[in-house]
Amino acid sequence: MTDASPSPIKMAARDVSVFYGAKRALNDVSIDIDMDHVTAFIGPSGCGKSTFLRTLNRMNDTIPSARVDGTITLDGEDIYAPAMDVVQLRARVGMVFQKPNPFPKSIYENVAYGPRIHGLAASKAQLDATVEDALGKAGLWGEVKDRLSDSGTALSGGQQQRLCIARAIAVDPEVILMDEPCSALDPIATAKIEELIHELKGRYAIVIVTHNMQQAARVSQRTAFFHLGTLVEYGPTPDIFTNPREDRTKDYITGRYG
């Protein structure tokens, strides 16, 4: 079942609340994100799971009316501290979105862009190696190695999403946040992403928001259930799906919610 040894905590949230103007979207969420596990956030639309995901790399900063209370740490370091460089933070905590959003540039440039602006490659040869490595880890290298100068947008949806994952990986992140990464993909492309998540597990802390409970059950080791802006239950995925403690969790996962 689940391993007994506690995983090192990569990110920790304590009493995190998010407000959009006067509206409170998230209430006092406290959670630890493990390095060695894939963590899934599930819950009905508007439950706050995506809002919370976005606090983990300060994506909510771009929304003028949003305010975040509480503390979130990455390796013990407060990511909302004034000294925190947000650009640097987002390189360490990468994000993959619902709709694949490659830059309208070549496949190569899509992946090379991040390492280049972050100064992670000293030479063209090193940049080439970084691009190959990232595409390889994203399971895309074999499919695109002969057409790296083609536009990223010319790839299929599933390939575009893996390209976005390669783009996130290229800057050597520590955490990868995925916001419904498969909702625009067909089942085969979805399976490839899920397999990729499995491959990447342990190398990066991975947090995935999904509406597909079967997907959460398949890819994650920890599941958090959110409802009405509150973290209702958080535990090992097999426990959540076979024997949840909270009635609200049970009603949601068994399809009795409403």
Binding site: M213, F241, T242, T254, G255, R256
Partner: protein, 230 residues
């Protein structure tokens, strides 16, 4: 229990429970009829019990088909998942209980002229108790009632006590009437079958408990384990 948003899900679960209840009803009836056939030496009734066991077997197939369809199409979770898996396992156990009743019925022709065998009067009472366990445990399943499942386990002790008493009486009887050993040995098997039915009912009780609560039944509530019946 709140209804599922998808009503067809509730219908499927309801159908599954209905099949289990039907199987249980038939098995309970088979036990009672087999013992009655034995007491009255009614060969026709015994033959009927053997034949009716096919219905139980067919229902087990139905349960399996429906449970697999439900898992494939509805992807049940949490207590729903536990219930579907329990139904699948319970159907196999009830089928086995039916086989024990059938086995009792098959022995009826071999036992003749036993009117003076005293323990025969104990068998119907033991059969009633075993039948009640089957009945009560399937009621507990239908109601998702863990407490009722624990009570069923407690009554297994009485079935075991019956068996021990009948065993002693039959062995004594055989020693005193060596010519009857062939027939009385069959009665020993009948008692053993009833004892096994009680044990199977306790297995079902453990499944019901897990389906209802998500927790394994505690060792002490499984009961009977201290007194090993032969």
């Amino acid at each position: 229990m709140t209804e599922h948003t998808v009503k067809a899900f509730d219908e499927d679960i309801g159908e599954l429970r209905g099949l289990i209840a039907e199987m249980g009803g038939l098995a309970e009836q088979a036990i009672a009829r087999a013992i009655e056939a034995l007491s009255k030496h009614d060969l026709e009734a015994a033959r009927q019990v053997v034949e009716d066991d096919r219905k139980i077997d067919a229902l087990e197939g139905e349960v399996e088909r429906l449970a697999i369809r439900l898992i494939a199409l509805r992807a049940p979770m949490a207590d729903d998942l536990r219930e579907v898996v329990a139904a699948l396992k319970i159907a196999a156990v009830v089928e086995r209980i039916g086989d024990y009743a059938k086995n009792i019925a098959k022995r009826v022709p071999a036992i003749e002229g036993h009117g003076d065998i005293e323990p025969l009067s104990l068998l119907p009472a033991m059969a009633r108790m075993a039948g009640e366990m089957v009945h009560d445990v399937l009621d507990a399943f239908a109601a998702r009632d863990a407490a009722a499942a624990i009570r069923v386990n407690e009554s297994d002790r009485q079935v075991d006590d019956f068996y021990d008493a009948i065993f002693r009486v039959l062995v004594t009887f055989m020693m005193e009437n060596p010519k009857s050993i062939g027939q009385v040995a069959h009665l020993l098997f009948v008692a053993k079958n009833l004892e096994r039915i009680g044990d199977h009912a306790t297995n079902v009780a453990e499944m019901v408990h897990y389906a209802a609560t998500g927790e394994r039944m505690a060792e002490r509530e499984r009961g009977g384990s201290a007194a090993v019946t032969l």
